[in-house]
């Protein structure tokens, strides 16, 4: 069997997940020896834009018709489609505008010229096409990307933590920022996998990895309210990276 063919794509976003791939400085040259990267516009100007792919890695959210068309075309030519990063998995920060009047926002910012722009609400990939694997994170963790490639090369699927950031934080024996210092920490409802990077630095979790399965945001909102936070603002904070994942 030949090397698996791979495409790496960015829809609308910050390119952070593609950057994490390029940040695998110690593994990058080994990686390109193991997989056959056919289409990676950010890194190469010679791409096969029509060949079938074993794996497509797609970051970013869908914000334009052009994004949606590209995504459908990628799905069509790919055996496995992997959503890379919080924008692809949940919609990400651009989805903060759900519920707002988009044409008004466009006009406010661009004036008359804004009317003709190809622009719509941010959508996660799964709202447009079937997604086979989610690797969340804003950005994704390098190790999670490498584990996914290793697993896929072995015909396996990677397993990511199903518990909250809170658990990782406790394992590091940190003092609780939420209960002891009254800081607005999203750790109890956010998917682990980052090693509790922020609370470990005494910085409250902002939920950038999106919600864990079975999160209980209502209980967290009650705690935040007891700590003196406005419930509406606290709920908005929990929705910063994943508009639909948390109440």
């Amino acid at each position: 069997m030949g090397k698996p063919t791979v495409g790496i794509f960015g829809l609308t976003g910050c390119a952070g997940d593609q950057l994490v791939i390029l940040n695998c400085e110690d593994q990058l040259l080994d990686l390109v020896a193991l997989i056959d990267i056919r289409d990676f516009l950010m890194a190469s100007s010679e791409n096969r834009t029509d060949c079938p792919l074993d794996v497509a890695l797609v970051e970013g959210a869908v914000l334009t018709n052009r994004d949606a068309e590209r995504l459908r075309a990628i799905r069509q030519r790919s055996n496995l489609l992997v959503a890379l990063g919080t924008c692809a998995v949940w919609g990400g920060v651009a989805a903060l505008d759900r519920g707002a009047d988009r044409s008004q926002l466009l006009e406010e910012v661009y004036g008359e010229a804004g009317h003709g722009y190809d622009s719509s609400h941010a959508q996660a990939l799964r709202e447009i096409v079937r997604v086979d694997l989610n690797i969340t994170g804003c950005p994704i963790e390098k190790e999670h990307f490498l584990a996914a490639i290793a697993a896929l090369l072995n015909g396996d699927t990677p397993v990511y933590p199903s518990y909250p950031v809170c658990t990782e934080c406790r394992m590091q024996e940190n003092n609780c920022l939420l209960m002891e210092r009254g800081l607005p920490c999203c750790g109890p409802v956010t998917a682990a996998g980052c090693g509790a990077r922020c609370p470990d630095l005494r910085v409250p979790c902002i939920g950038c990895r999106g919600p864990m399965a079975d999160a209980n945001p209502v209980s967290l909102l009650e705690v935040l309210e007891q700590k003196g936070f406005d419930r509406r603002q606290a709920a908005a904070r929990l929705r910063t990276f994943a508009p639909e994942g948390v109440a």
Binding site: G16, S44, E108, G114, L201, R237
Partner: protein
């Protein structure tokens, strides 16, 4: 009429293209098309509390995420009247240097140099010249290590907060960075050797206006509140509070990036502009390297921005070392962030992101929630200048073969190191 279209620029961050219209040999129209989706992040931070703003606006762009974060903090602190400690200022400058090293190494070695040697990308280049790519990856990794140590993460730093840092780095972490930087000095020199060995990119000449941060320290990406604009030897100063006069942004139908001009002229920001505005930095090793690269300032060739980035690699490594030496000399203190007392008001911050001037300006209410936010990014500032240089590049191309013109246009675009996610941003009028 004939039209040359570069549908989707490769080896740049984000989604953009170039369209050139020709009438015989005359260029009638040139457009830098930006079709990156608009995320409308600036209006979306309205109503958000001050601590939520930096992480949201950092997501404008990953490659410049440290610059966006730190510029955001600087603007908020200006609005609230917070003065951070000298140690915080040093650590922030160090974080800027780490980002600049990573970004320049990524751009030069993985995105730009393959053009000069006729490779489609770094993977193909690595097959024939692994040493060149490994050199770039080593420098890139060092830049990321600095960002991880100071910012807590290489992309979208988490440790930099309004008033200071969550946790300051430990002594042994700084010592480790120092040893990495000492080794990197040789790599930065090798980068100059490599750049000096490349075929000349001599196909686009144009008088260029340059703009960069005027820093009291000459060599800071972070400190300072004025922009200096250099036009044909003349210098003009624009204070941060008057940034609108610098940008004069106007929305154009073909692009989600607004276009900027200063007194009617497009201007260039970035490495070349920084060296032009602050030439006193160019002493010692830098002066020697500049001669080797045959760079003279002010330059009339936008491709020289690649040379300027290579020079900045040397400078960033030197400056990062100086900062660490000073932190070690003074003794790193376990400081907590300054107390934050929100107040109603406006704060504007100007810094130097790897690609050039970055401006964040916020208006806050008395509770510390955003009333209005405005972000002006280097690639948006450069858009009009890029179009001017695309035009000159086509006009000065003696061959009318499309492949030649297309390659040159792409090289000019890449020399600007455009960050198209950044350029798509929204400004309240």
């Amino acid at each position: 009429m004939s039209v040359i279209v570069i549908e989707h620029l490769a080896r740049v961050e984000g989604h953009g293209g170039i369209t050139v219209e020709l009438e015989g040999d005359a260029v009638t129209n040139v457009r830098f098309d930006v079709f990156e989706g608009s995320r409308l992040l600036e209006p979306l931070v309205r109503g958000k509390r001050y601590d939520e703003v930096p992480p949201i606006l950092s997501r404008i762009c990953a490659i410049c995420s440290a610059a966006h974060t730190l510029t955001s903090l600087k603007a908020t602190e200006a609005a609230f009247g917070i003065r951070v400690s000298p140690q915080t200022e040093l650590l922030r400058e160090l974080l800027f240097r780490g980002e600049s090293i990573e970004s320049h190494a990524l751009h030069l070695f993985l995105l730009a140099i393959p053009d000069y040697l006729n490779y489609p990308g770094a993977v193909a280049l690595a097959a024939d010249k692994p040493a060149a790519v490994l050199l770039g990856l080593r420098l890139k990794k060092l830049g990321n290590r600095i960002q991880e140590t100071i910012g807590g993460r290489a992309v979208h730093p988490v440790n930099a907060l309004v008033g200071g840092f969550g946790k300051v780095p430990a002594l042994d972490q700084l010592i480790e960075l120092r040893s990495g930087l000492l080794q990197a000095a040789a790599d930065a020199d090798a980068a100059i050797d490599l750049m000096a060995s490349l075929p000349a990119a001599d196909f686009c000449h144009s008088e260029t206006v340059y703009a960069a941060l005027r820093s009291p320290h000459l060599d800071s990406y972070y400190l300072g509140d004025e922009v200096m604009v250099v036009t044909d030897g003349n210098r003009a100063i624009v204070p941060a509070s008057d940034y609108a006069s610098l940008t004069n942004e106007k929305a154009v139908p073909h692009s989600h990036a607004k276009h900027s001009s200063f007194r009617g002229s497009p201007f260039m920001v970035g490495s070349l502009a920084r060296l032009t505005v602050n030439p006193r930095r160019l002493t010692g090793k830098l002066a020697v390297a500049m001669k080797r690269l045959k760079l003279s300032l002010p330059a009339d060739n936008p491709m020289d921005n690649n040379k300027a980035q290579a020079l900045e690699l040397i400078n960033d490594v030197e400056r990062a070392l100086e900062i660490i030496e000073q932190l070690l000399r003074d003794g790193i203190k376990d400081e907590r962030p300054m107390p934050v007392q929100p107040r109603a008001g406006t704060g504007t911050a100007i810094t130097e992101a790897p690609r050039g001037l970055l401006i964040h300006s916020y208006q806050y209410d008395a509770d510390g929630c955003v009333v209005a936010a405005d972000v002006i990014t280097p690639t948006a500032l450069n858009a009009a200048s890029m179009e001017l240089h695309f035009r000159r590049g086509v006009e000065q191309c003696a061959e009318r073969e499309e492949a030649v013109i297309t390659k040159r246009l792409q090289m000019i675009a890449r020399a600007y190191d455009p960050c198209i996610s950044c350029s798509v941003h929204l400004v309240r009028r």
